[in-house]
Each structure stands twice: as structure tokens, then as C-alpha cells.
Symmetry: C2
Subunit: 470 residues, 2 copies
Amino acid sequence: MAKGASISGFPEWLPSERVVEQRVIDTLRRVFELNGFLGIETRAVETGASLLKKGETSKEIYLLSRLQEVGHESDTPLNDRLGLHFDLTVPLSRYVVEHSGDLAFPFKRWQIQKVWRGERPQEGRFREFVQADIDVIGQGDLPDHYEVELPLVMVSALERLREFGLPKATVHANNRKLSEGFYRGLGLTDIEGVLREIDKLDKIGADEVAKLLVEGCGADESQARACLELAELTASDGKELAERFDALCAKHGIGTDGDAYQLARQGLDTLAMIVDQAAAIRPGSVIADLKIARGLDYYTGSVYETFLDGAASLGSICSGGRYDNLASQGSRKYPGVGLSIGLSRLVSYMLHTAGARANRVSPAAVLVAVWNEADRTAANRIADTLRSRGIAADVAPTAAKLGKQIKYADKLGIPYVWFPAADAGEDGQAAGDEVKNIVTGDQVPADAKSWEPDTVYARQEVTIQGVKEA
Amino acid sequence: MAKGASISGFPEWLPSERVVEQRVIDTLRRVFELNGFLGIETRAVETGASLLKKGETSKEIYLLSRLQEVGHESDTPLNDRLGLHFDLTVPLSRYVVEHSGDLAFPFKRWQIQKVWRGERPQEGRFREFVQADIDVIGQGDLPDHYEVELPLVMVSALERLREFGLPKATVHANNRKLSEGFYRGLGLTDIEGVLREIDKLDKIGADEVAKLLVEGCGADESQARACLELAELTASDGKELAERFDALCAKHGIGTDGDAYQLARQGLDTLAMIVDQAAAIRPGSVIADLKIARGLDYYTGSVYETFLDGAASLGSICSGGRYDNLASQGSRKYPGVGLSIGLSRLVSYMLHTAGARANRVSPAAVLVAVWNEADRTAANRIADTLRSRGIAADVAPTAAKLGKQIKYADKLGIPYVWFPAADAGEDGQAAGDEVKNIVTGDQVPADAKSWEPDTVYARQEVTIQGVKEA
């Protein structure tokens, strides 16, 4: 995106930037597979009925129409039209129900795919972007240990990206039952409304949120302030969490024997389990943070957001939660828990803030020079020999002056230029081949059947080449 | 697609089938990178103006509209609306012009991405599918050796898929200039029309094509028959090709001194070069086949289609050609040559006809058993130790009876079940761990820090498990 996308909100990377994105994708996939997640891909479209069912982003949908239908789009009812998926969770739920007979449950899957949001164009918002998701879906029930394990898989995946310039990531967890119980204990009833306003805290600040709670959610000033006090509560272990929460309940007159407190307590116990278990396995990776609300209304228990050290303005780069009611088949439910990395935004941060760079644009380690066009077949044979040994090789586009061929290699970041012997025969293996490292200037005799590039120059790598901006 | 796609034309694979598709994608990418192609991804959308410019598939476009625009779609002129790309060549041309200052030319790129065709639903036609493309784009000019090399890269890529059940692939090449020169030599002028009808030869047969040439392209009976004779011409070397072509010209009174013959000769020389050079590097991989026309009207020279031995009904699985006029910037042209594999159709063939199968559904080689929920953390530690050594591991979902845990492993194809020692401590490494190969029944003592799975069972692989249908 060196020059910005030519259609606002539809980012595109230059080849050198794509190397970084591809490395991020490969790294995440590797971690997901090491953890036993199955890879799937769902179609890009869902029916209007499915897309409009759940979630606040349901307003931000791209609908499709065939060119032939232009002018007659409205002949098809909205529910029957096709639209592009806005996340990977709604498609997963549909996929699981559709193929339940062919899946082993609990079904653990990873999915890295593009999603689309049909928003009005606005600065810095992507309308097409890649998400990297892991979810586990149970048939009938789903053990709560996955509510600890899935955030930890994401933490270990993000940990692997730190060598490419990503700061340390911390998962901030909350539980909807805890929030709901507390709000009900205060006497509030518009739970969805309160959660939606609390979710705006980082964007508009406490005073604005308090105003919205009073104006739109039936709260009085004191109830609104209590909601904000809950949102300020953080804890890094279960005992601390329970103590602070109970103190807050006592302060606001929420009795421990009421239904509201019991509901909150369910959420609190799960949240305490999550932070304590996570601390045992990866200390400092997960904290309880009771302002986490999540806009999407399909979450029913745990919710997560993930922040990078020193990158608060970036917002959450990995979010998710537990959803017990998203998918069902007759009376059978398919509860799930999952997290999603906003990969495009993460890659944008790595490129433009963290200074991640590819060591070379081309995957080729070697450019085979061509002395004149009659020798091209011999040059191709040398390249093929290198390739058969796993060494990526390109061949000079024309038999231009050697300086021009070296310049082409240099522009692509290809570290080695191969000089075929002038008398190369049928097998392209005449004695007299030489290879030059154009970074160091070293030039040595070489045989394509046995030569190995220096390990420093062998692989296309992503490194941090300095922070460009704060 | 065990049960067929739930929306016609939008295929989706089961996890075990996705393993095969992912392996095909990984294999193609590997070959493309070994050959020095740069990977890019373009946005899924282009403007109407760009999509409607070229190509017969321009009629098969999905246009987008935001949910809020429903009922007002027609307020936006067609050229300004967004639509999903129907191939990866039109987006590449736009990308190259847009980013020309940041690219090294000739620009060699691979791209594996979904495309969409807004067709009426019909049996067996995909409306969403994955294409795997390689192209090389020059700035100003492009050497013709790429017209040999690109089909050969595709041949070597398809060769790597033979171990997964794909039959041998042969590229059938033609040249538009050759056809055009011949048609003009006969006195025909509607060249696009003739090419379009000849392209239908395999589908509707010679008699029907002759009829269409007479009815719609201004040909008389004898001209139509001459066009069909040209389409019957095949050759596996340049000399044979030239002799047969010249004989045909003589028979139909096309003089070698006319402009028409000279144009045909240009095409013939390039085509002869292609088959001869290809024969020198990979004998039998490319033949001249003068019935190859290609529907898309952006091709200006070489055109290719690729057929699998014994799978004629599948049609071409890898097609492309040279296009000199698709992209330009002022007076500067960006000529290109490229080929595209219809990956979804290929994977469908491999799964349903060639019998390609994953040896296991889960990427995990090991399932760590859990004796009771209190021991889960120890089981997780064992799994983490294996993962840190590159061994993919899953952990049993519940502390169910051992038989049930083994059944879960078996259903996912996980070959090893790990039994933690009952007294596993903090590091999960207590003496007494054992691991059982549930395929062979072998059970041995094991330490997660040093144990290695048998190579036969270590990796998730794709193999041929017998042809299911003809």
C-alpha cells in the first residue's frame, strides 16, 4: 500500500509487503496445526437470511447481484439474496450444522480468509481484510477448559510474530454473565444496550458513556457510575478478581443470595479459572479486564480482546468469545468458543510501524546469467538443476550486458548471480561455472549439482529493519 | 462436498478434502517460488469499468451493493460500481499499471485466489472457485522465450501432483496470428467470430461449428470446411507443423507472398519455437494443436490449453496465452503471458475420480490422553513440549473412559495416543509416560522431550487410495 489503495478500504500489498503478510499467515497456520486444529475454507457468500440473523455488523453487508439482474435486484427477497460474509464465525456455525455427520466433535478448526464489511468508505477502515480464526465447536456441550486454551493458542501464535517486530500481546478477558448479573443486580434490564455503550469506553470516554447509559438504557446517574466502576476493574488472578468484585457488589447493595449475583458468580468463576490457569501455563498472558464488552451480540460467556504493548491506538488485534446459541439443529445446540486475529490490520502495523521487512522481494536465491540468447537453454538447465535441489532460481530475462543482469538481480534482492561456463553442454554442467555473491562480492567456481548458498543468503526472510514512525 | 454444496455452484470441502486442496496449493506455490515468481494477492473487487472492458466472461459478473443501498443500486453508474473479479489476469494488469514504479520488470508473479462468475446456476458449474496463476509482464516489450517457459513451469507443477493421482498433463498450444492469417487468407474478415465458434468444437462437434461459421461469420461452405481442417492440424515438432500448414495453405490457395500468410507465418514461427524448445527440455509436454482458440478476446498471440491423459471430459485444466494489449499507461504497453490452473475443478477431479485421500484428517500426530480433569494441565504441558519440537499434538477433549479417547483419535486419524504417567509433576515429564501407536498396537515408554514418531506416521500426507469412478 505504498501509495494507498486505489479503492478506499480495499488494501493491496506490494510484492515485498506481501512477503511479510505471507510469512505471518504461514506462521499462524503452523501454530494452529501444531495445536491440532483442522484447516477449512468456507465459501465467501452466505444467504441474506444467515447474514442478517446475528451481530451488530449485520448492517455492514455487501449483497451480490448478477449483471443480468441489474435494475431487478429487488425482485429477490433479501433473505434469499447472496451476500459476502462479514466474519468467519457465522459461516463456521452454518458449516458445522450442515456437515455435522462428517465431523468429529469437539471440532477444532483454523481458517484464514478474507471477509468484507459493506461500510461507507472512511479513513483507515478496511472494507476487505483477512481474518485468522480458531474455534472449537462442541455437539450438545463444550468443556470450559477451551475458554483458557484457545486464548493461549493465540498468545503463542502472536509470540512467534515477535521476531518480526510485534510487541508483546496480552489477552484481556471478561465474561458476559458477570456483567449481566452485575447490571441486573443494580436493577438495570437493557443488558444488550449497556454492553453496547460500555464497548465504546475506549473511543468516547467515561463521561460520554455515562450520558448514553442514562439517555438510552434506562440507568440513573448512580447506576451509570456503578457500571463504569465495574468496567474499571482489572485483576491478574482469580482471588483478587473475586475480592474486588464482591467489594463492588457490597458497595452497590447487590446481595450475594440474589439470582443476579448467582449469575454474575457463574461468570466470575469461569473468568477466575481462565486467569489462574493461563497464569500457570503462560504467566502474564491473560488478565481479567471487566470493561471488555465486544460489540457482537452472539457471545454468551467469556469474551476476549487482545492488546499490544505500546500500541493502544491500534485497538484489539485478536478478539472473540464463547457463543452457546449461534448454531443449532432441532433441539441440539453447537456451543463454541473462538478468537479471530485481524490479520490485515496486524500486517499493516508490522509494515508501517514495527518496520518488518523482507530481506528480498524474489523467492529466488540465484539468478542465472545468460551470455547470449543461444545459451538460454543451458541457463534454464542450470536453473532446473538448482530447483531440483530445492534452491529457488530465476534466469536473466534477456542476454543484456552483465551489469544490467546484475542490476535486475539487485532490484529483486536476489543475492547470487550464476555465470554459466561459455562452453556449457547439453546438461548445462560444463566445468567452469562460477557464482558470485553480489552482496559480498565473493565469486567462486561452482557446480549446480552440489553448490549450496550460504545460509545467511539462502532463504527469503522477514526481519525488523527499524521503526519508521511512532 | 460429500453432500453437494448447499448453494449451487459454491463448493465447500470437508476437512479431509481440504487437506488435499491445501496440499495442491502448497505444491503449486512451492514450484512457482522455486522458479522465481513473486507471490501477490489482489483485492477481490474491481470497478465495473475495469471488469466490463475485456473478455467474454464480462457478462458473468457479480456486482456488489451495500445493504443500505438496496433499492437504490441503479443510482450508481455501472462503471463506478464494484464487482467481484472473474479472473486474476484483469486484476494483475490493473495492479501492474498502478504499481509500475515499485516493480522490477519483467514482473513474474504467482497468485492463488478465489474468483467468481455470476452465472445462472447450472449443474456442475462453479460460480466461486480457486485459480492458480502465473504470469510474466514486461514493460514496453516482453521476450518470447517466456511463451515456452511459462507452460513448462505449469507442466512441472502438474507433474508434482501426479503422486496424488493426477494423470500426465499435455499442453496444447496454438497462436492467434496463425489462425487469423489463415482465415484472412481464405477471405474471411470476422476473425473474433470464427475463433469463438471454433472454440466450441469439442462441445458441439464439427458439423454444428460449420453451420455457425456459415450462418454467423460470413463463411461459405468451403471456407468453413477449411477452418475445420486447420483445427484438425496437430504437430509435435516445428518442422512437421510448418509442412502441414504450408500444405493446407497451398490446398486452399493461400499464397505465401500475401500479407495474410505473412501474419500466419509469424504465429507459426513462434509456435514452432515453442514446441521445439519444450521438446528439448521436457519431451512430450507441449504439442501444437490448431483447434485451440480460447474464448477470452484479450489474447493476441500464443494460446494454451492443458488436458489430462484419459480425462477428456474434464476439459482444459490449465489455460492461458499471450496478451499484448491488456494493460497500458499512456503510450507504454505492458505485454504479458500467463497460464491459469482451474484449481477447484482439479481438486474435485483428484478427490472424486483419482481417489486422492489424506492419511489423516487432523494435523496432529499425537493425542495426549487425560486421566481426569485435574491432570489436564500436565497433559497440556506434554503436548506443548511435543509442539515445541515440531510434533503436532492434540489433547483429549474430556477425561472420558480411555476407549472413548482412543475412538476420538481414531476418528481424526491421529496415529499415536500418549498416556501421561499418573504422577506427572509440574513439568509434565514424570518417568512412566507411554505412547501407543493405535494403528499397529505397539506401546512403548516415551519422554516428550526426545520421543520421535515413526516417519510413516509422522506427517499428514495425501495419497491415492484407489479410483472410485471412471
